[in-house]
Each structure stands twice: as C-alpha cells, then as structure tokens.
Assembly symmetry: C2
Homo-oligomer: 106 residues x 2
DNA sequence: TTCACTTAGTTACTTTATGTAACTGATATT
DNA sequence: AATATCAGTTACATAAAGTAACTAAGTGAA
C-alpha cells in the first residue's frame, strides 16, 4: 500500500504554477517590473478581476512584490522577487519543449 | 501598441500544463506505464471523472497513449509517448525550484 | 468648474470547471 | 447467487473564471 509518494514541496510548486493565468503572469513579469494595466493588456482574455486575485496570491507566496510610487497620480509596480526570478529555468524548459514538440501552425 | 508578444507554442504548452491535475498525472506517468486505478489512487482528491477527462485530453495531444491488453479481465495501460517523456526536464526544474524556495514544513 | 480620461482595482451576475457520490457493465472470485 | 474489481459514466452541488459595469482618486482640456 503506497501512500502519497508525492513530495509536498513539489506538489505545492505545481499547485502554484498550474493555477490558471499564474504562469503567464509570472512569465510576463520576467521581462521586467510593470504596472497592473500593462500586464492586463499583455495577456488577452485576462480580466482585471482575476489579475487582481492572482497578484495577491503571488505576493502572498513571495513570488511577486508590489511597490507603490507616491507620485501623482500614484504609480504601482509589480515585479518578481528572487524567488519569482528563480522560476525562469522552468519557463526555459517549457519554451524548449514547445519548440520541439508543438506544431508551428495551429 | 504591442500586441500579443507571446509565442503561440509557448502559450499552448502553458495551457496544457496548467490545466488542473494535468501536470501531476504526467508526473505520475513518468514513473512508468500504469492503469487507471493506479493513477487515481496515487493522486488523492483526483476523481475518476476528471482523470478520465484529462487522460482523453492528453491522448488527444499525443502526450499519453492508451494501450488495451485483451487479457481477461481486460487491462488498460496508460503511458507517456516520446512527446510526453520530453516533459521530464520541466518537472526537473520544478523540483529544483521547490526544493530551493519552498519551506519544508507547512 | 465641469466633463472626460486614466489607473487600480471591486462588485454583481453568468457561465464553465471541478468535486462528490452513486451507478454501469464486463469479468472474477467466494 | 452474491460480492468484488476495473474502467469508466451520469447526475447533481459547489467553486472558479469570465463579463461588464462601477468606484475613487487624480489629470487634462474646454
């Protein structure tokens, strides 16, 4: 009777990454810090509602940081923490796989 | 006005991998071909209904193959194709990240 | 000053996805 | 004949995501 062979840390990582939109938001932030509206516009079909939820979750996980610039009007920038930046190799492997195994035209 | 900077193949890969349960099912199959009930039992909280849906999707994507052994009773084995096996490095990177950045105890 | 616009969201409502549990049909075992 | 196993399916309930309109604080133009 084998029970839960799955490493809980691995499971947690998959849980984070496989939540809808999360990967694409992190990937978008890999290109540099940016504002809410910029992320929203870069990812078609992502609603402000879900983006707002995901950014809060990612902030809570310590993957994203939210910085308020008290300019006028106020500017809020989202960026990756070191923990978030460390996700880059995963996206590197996803890119490799997709280029080798997925058809160009769909 | 930048539009859809996202590579469609990368986007497709993320879409496949970030569907709930998909990654864990593929990861489970990395340990070798196995039967429906085995996958179901290895992943707590995964229902037969969703497993059945996911296996069909993965078969359709060419990531999983379903082989019927006409024994009695019939045995059905699910396994990864070459395309599916090629996902292994992605899980390798997820494992690395989770061990470096996620706490042991939660 | 009033009207319109931008940013960073939130709220209310609808549609879709997932979870739960019971069920099916073929074979095997007791 | 009754019970069990495997590989699912069906019906129903709950949770997540999509859609669109709205807010509040500030800016800019008329």
């Amino acid at each position: 009777m084998e029970r839960n062979l799955l490493c809980p840390r691995f499971e947690k990582a998959v849980e984070i990454l496989s939540k809808r939109w999360t990967s694409l938001i992190v990937f978008q932030l890999l290109s540099g810090p940016q504002r809410f509206i910029n992320i929203d516009q870069a990812l078609p079909n992502l609603s402000g509602k879900v983006l707002s939820e995901r950014l809060k979750e990612l902030e809570h996980e310590g993957i994203v940081k939210r910085v308020v610039f008290p300019e006028s009007p106020v500017r809020i920038e989202y960026s990756l923490t070191d923990k978030g930046l460390a996700l880059a190799p995963i996206f590197g492997e996803i890119t490799k796989w997709s280029q080798e195994w997925l058809p160009v035209q769909e």
